[in-house]
């Protein structure tokens, strides 16, 4: 089965074509085709995973299975394409197929009655195909292509309700902002190719085996490896919505909520983390560690920054969007402090609980018809299934130790950070506290208290939407038990992905780390969660603390946070204004210099020249032509009088001519020189 893993992305691709072409006439208006394909992919992924982990100890599958076939000949060598199956791909395959299949099933209920229902499932299938290709690609080129394809499907699905101008704008914004990062990815990929001569990641000629060739000083005194790592990280910053390219993700919430759950929470945005994880040898080979430090600080900053914004948002999906940015920052931060395994672990658990949170939010929106949490409240009794699954995933996101998946993964990140970088650890701990605050604020405002808007009559969602919620809630608890500190199956399987040499580099970096249960970290994490829950309860559940009273002193801070630190406005004022100015200048240049001076000038000169030429043509050339005609006509007119038509006149003329010629002949006869040659004939 591992040999046929390439079929996993192929099935949704076929489903995409079928649904797009025959969607309306297909079973379930096309939905069942897409769901059948993704469920088959899920089954195949499970088989691959089973084969993989059961054969984990044997030689055959140890570490990596990678095959390549020639793709396109380029010069003396052929660019190859292929797929690889290792623990990282298997984890990603499982995450993507599980979440995608559940979200698609959920969408049957959520998207019911939409005018473009088959197209929705077609796009979902295309996304699944691209994302699954991305996670099993064994070369950078295929990765980049599928990376762009998931960006495309993200664009298509954010703008799915393109009748709304805001959705249209959000889709464009997401596409353009991620494109900024993709330029970095492309540049990094080209840099790696130039130095190693291969797009392939693995094998003796692959990128990872030849990274020493990049160990030279590049621009800014940085080793070329650090430059390559940072360029690749640019792609991750764009796709995973890290500061400063995070602005697209909150706006992406304009798409249908299941799309937000699948693409903008669980899978596609995690592709940036996956990219850094997949290319981790590049970062490990960089002995200066600059790239990883940048990764760590950007991740830590984003995690804190986005979490604080999440505190002050009133749109249920936007809170979750900032939470996603924050959690992605957590993963990126973890990668930066050598928490490779922890980052992938958190990616997996986050995918489950965040997908569940988004689907829960979708259920709430479906039930109430609004996204504004100020209009909700008291939904606990009306939507019990949604409430309990939402609460479980909230606990998982907050990282409640021992009982939730998010607890295990978050503490693993904190444990690594505790060992390598205390500053990052502090940021992570504070972030965990803020996360708990905003999540419980959300839970209290949505589900607790009394309904604030009496016009909204909430109802529980249909079963087809609740079943995925329950399954994901189960996973949000249970997925963590593969990576407990005591029996870390996850780590045991993930480390060989890096290969022997890089795994030992990583182990060397983490030398002396307390493996296993870390009581300090456990205590800090528990304190953060407890404080967060306590504070949130004191403010929003039982109004013990009245934050309204802080308004005169801290009102500016609240407004700052509520307006997302004015980042969008700053971009509007600087980058967008600058671009508009540049394009205005370019437009004016185009208008006045190119169009007016060059094009119109040339046209004017051409017209002038052609006028001159026309004058010449009309007077001189035509004049000569007319002169010939005029001469012919005049001479003809003159000679016309000879042609009387009277035979006698002709005879007369003949006779006269004859007499003259005869006289001339006779005269010539007696002359020394004949002036008519015929006279000489008679001599």
């Amino acid at each position: 089965m591992v040999e046929h893993a390439w079929l996993i992305p192929l099935l949704p691709a076929i489903a995409f074509g079928l649904t797009l072409l025959f969607g309306r006439r297909g079973p379930g208006e096309g939905a069942y085709i897409a769901i059948a394909a993704i469920c088959t992919s899920l089954a195949m992924s499970l088989i691959v995973a089973a084969r993989w982990f059961l054969a984990g100890g044997s030689e055959a599958y140890h570490g990596l299975y990678s095959v390549s076939v020639p793709w396109m000949p380029a010069g003396s060598q052929a660019v190859e394409t292929g797929f690889c199956i290792d623990a990282l791909s298997v984890v990603m395959l499982l995450v993507v197929t599980i979440v995608a299949s559940l979200v698609q099933i959920y969408s049957i209920g959520y998207m019911h009655g939409d005018p473009r229902y088959p197209r929705y499932f077609a796009f979902h299938s295309l996304f699944a195909a691209a994302m699954l290709t991305l996670v099993i690609a064994n070369n950078m080129l295929l990765m980049f292509i599928s990376w762009e394809l998931v960006g495309l499907t993200s664009y298509l699905l954010i703008g799915f309700w393109f009748e709304r101008p805001s959705a249209m704008r959000a889709a464009k914004k997401a596409f353009l902002v991620t494109r900024v990062g993709d330029v970095g990815f492309l540049a990094g990929m080209i840099l790696l190719y130039l130095k190693t001569g291969s797009f392939n990641l693995f094998g003796a000629n692959g990128v990872f085996e030849n990274l020493s060739r990049l160990d030279v000083v590049g621009p800014f005194g940085l080793p070329l490896l650090a430059v390559a790592g940072l360029l690749l990280f640019c792609g991750a910053v764009g796709k995973s919505a890290q500061f400063p390219l995070h602005v697209w993700l909150p706006d992406a919430m304009e798409g249908p909520t299941p799309v937000s759950a699948l693409i903008h929470a669980a899978t596609m945005v995690a592709a940036g983390v996956y990219l850094v994880a997949r290319m981790y040898p590049v970062y490990l080979a960089d002995s200066s560690g600059t790239a990883l430090q940048v990764v760590a600080y950007i991740g830590a900053f984003t995690a804190l920054f986005a979490a604080t914004i999440g505190l002050a948002q009133n749109d249920i999906k936007r809170v979750l969007a900032y939470s996603t940015i924050s959690q992605l920052g957590y993963m990126i931060m973890s990668l930066g402090v050598f928490g490779y395994v922890a980052a992938v672990f958190h990616l997996m658990t986050h995918a489950f609980f965040k997908a569940n949170l988004f689907l829960g939010a979708g259920s709430v929106i479906h039930g109430t018809g609004t996204q504004d949490i100020r209009d909700m409240g008291g939904l606990r009794r009306k939507m019990p299934w949604t409430y309990w699954t939402f609460l479980i995933s909230t606990l998982s996101l907050c990282g409640v130790p021992f009982v939730t998946a998010g607890g295990w993964s978050k503490e693993e990140i904190l444990a690594v950070a505790w060992h390598t970088n205390r500053l990052v650890f502090a940021a992570g701990a504070v972030c965990a506290f803020v996360t708990t605050c905003y999540m419980f604020r959300l839970v209290y405002k949505v589900f607790h208290g009394e309904p604030r808007n009496k016009d909204i009559h909430a109802h529980e969602s249909p079963r087809v939407m609740l079943a995925p919620l329950v399954i994901l809630a189960f996973l949000a608890i249970s997925a963590g038990y593969v990576g407990t500190p005591w029996a870390n199956v996850f780590e045991h399987n993930m480390l060989p992905v890096l290969g022997h040499s890089y795994a030992s580099v990583l182990e060397h970096r983490l030398e002396g780390m307390h493996h296993g249960f870390n009581p300090v970290v456990f205590f800090v994490a528990l304190t953060a969660v407890a404080l967060g829950v306590g504070l949130a309860s004191a403010i929003w559940l039982k109004p013990l603390l009245r934050i309204e009273r802080l308004e005169p002193y801290l009102g500016w801070l609240a407004r700052l946070v509520e307006n997302k630190y004015y980042i969008d406005e700053i971009y509007q004022a600087t980058i967008i204004r600058g671009l508009m100015l540049a394009s205005w200048i370019a437009f004016k240049f185009d208008y006045w210099v190119i169009d007016y001076a060059i094009v119109n000038g040339t046209a004017y000169l051409t017209r002038l020249a052609s006028q001159l030429y026309g004058w010449f043509d009309r007077t001189v050339v035509d004049g000569v032509v007319n002169l010939v005609g005029w001469t012919t006509k005049t001479v003809g007119n003159a000679l016309r009088y000879l042609q009387t038509g009277v035979a006698q006149h002709y005879v007369f003329l003949t006779v006269v001519a004859l007499i003259i010629i005869s006289l001339a002949v006779l005269a010539g006869h007696y002359r020394e020189e004949a002036w008519i040659p015929i006279a000489g004939f008679y001599r």
Partner: protein
């Protein structure tokens, strides 16, 4: 100028021929009637015949060629008269006259 056996100089024949030709030419130029013009052409042809006969006879070795040529000319004249008269009759039928200078229906 040699004299022939008849003792008459060739110039006499030529003079008669020239006179006859001039009369024919003059008639050709001044006659308005097409019939008259046809008659004048006959005169000019016969003037040529006289010359042909005279030159044929007055060669150093006299030949019959002049007389043969004259026969040809007469044949030609007959044919020409036939065609000419046919044309004239047709013109007369159309125009009811045969005044040559008034037949201008084909003039531009």
């Amino acid at each position: 100028m040699s004299h022939s056996a008849y003792g008459i100089p060739i110039s006499w024949f030529l003079t008669v021929g020239a006179l006859l030709f001039c009369i024919g030419l003059f008639g050709m130029m001044v006659r308005r009637s097409a019939i008259g013009m046809l008659l004048s052409i006959e005169l000019m042809l016969n003037a040529a015949n006289i010359n042909l006969l005279a030159f044929g006879s007055y060669l150093r070795v006299p030949t019959i060629a002049g007389q043969v040529f004259a026969i040809f000319v007469i044949t030609l004249a007959a044919a020409e008269a036939a065609i000419g008269l046919a044309i004239i009759i047709n013109i007369y039928r159309l125009e009811l006259h045969i005044e040559a200078d008034k037949i201008t229906s084909m003039k531009f």
